[in-house]
Subunit: 213 residues, 2 copies
């Protein structure tokens, strides 16, 4: 597994983030619109044709494989293709993760694209977000991999505004245990506990800041 060094300044990172964020947001809008639209078949076919044209234009120059995980010389993480935090990935809400005194925290809103049961967040989406957030809390000094994670669903999580939090409860050598929750305005809807492992290769490696994708 290879992390890519992007030899650019922090200002250039910010500038590129400013270019890709509105583009990806427009794709997030499109994902939502395709789920919820009630226009007729001709309009759907027309939309499809126009989307295919945009795809062809964007693909005239593209990287061979996935985006990978990049970082600058200042060790700012650029996980821009990441499924949970990627600023170039329309599948990601994206989670914007804030470091707080006892761990990490993220406020986000999930719309129609994250639905499982009617009007509720898919339980698998909750598991996905908690896996990422707990891993982020556990990666305070170096990136970690998830060993195991257990998610407990206390009640359905409604689509809409949510808050997730995670914190480390135990550390022992390369093993770390983290816990976390997702909450709506009424309180916790689901909680998780995970065991995370720091890879041997990372123990003496650079500390990369992964708060934002």
């Amino acid at each position: 597994m290879e992390f890519i060094l992007e030899d650019i300044t922090e200002d250039e990172v910010a500038r590129r983030r400013g270019v890709y964020t509105p583009l990806t947001d427009s794709v997030r809008d499109l994902v939502d619109a395709v789920i919820r639209t009630e226009v007729g078949e001709d309009a759907l076919a027309d939309a499809q044709r126009r989307i295919a044209e945009i795809v062809a234009d964007l693909r005239t120059e593209q990287m061979d494989g996935p985006y990978g995980v990049r970082h600058t010389r200042e060790n700012t993480g650029m996980a821009w293709g990441n499924a949970v935090i990627g600023v170039r990935n329309a599948l990601a809400p994206p989670l914007d993760i804030e470091h707080v005194p006892d761990g990490v925290r993220s406020e986000f809103t999930l719309g129609a694209a994250y639905e499982g049961p009617p009007g509720q967040v898919h339980g698998g989406v909750c598991a996905m977000l908690l896996d990422h957030l707990l891993g982020n809390a556990a990666s305070y000094s170096s990136p970690c991999y998830t060993g195991t994670i257990t998610v407990r669903y206390l009640r359905p999580t409604p689509l809409g505004a949510l808050v997730a939090q995670a914190w480390v409860t135990e550390q022992n050598g390369r093993k770390r245990i983290a816990r976390g929750t997702i909450s709506d305005a009424e309180g916790v809807t689901c909680e998780a506990e995970g065991v995370f492992i720091v890879p041997r290769s990372a123990v003496d490696g650079p500390v990369v800041r992964w708060s934002e994708g």
Copy 2:
């Protein structure tokens, strides 16, 4: 939570599926292209403007909230907005779930949009897919909700062609235990065990077939 009856024939379900599938596939392509494109800023801005126009056109007529979960009088499930199986949801790979003698099975391919570590599937995506698949295995007679799920990561799951399987190992009243795995060509990469609960209201309800979103 309300399941919506769509009073349409099975032929009409198939016809609509045929209309939305290529449209959603083109959005999946677009998600991938936005992650991987290397075109210049003017071309990105142009793409954004064109996507925003399509969104506006699709939103001229749209449902108020999320898609919900629908079914026909013949109890064919239409979870078309679902985050894992929805044929109208570009976030979903989508999983097409096959019923096999001892449970359920799905073959699928995950590209750049599902990345976590470089070249690997995001661990949270594995958890999301397993949550859905185990829930599907447990829902053989009525829809279930996940109580808890534990995912164990044996090694990284590479992006590309994968197979997931799930089966019920125990059932006791309204409680069911299911297990499952995700595998690449070399074998199992991660495995899960979950406890699923059949809601009281569903015990005597209709049996809806949820194999496809």
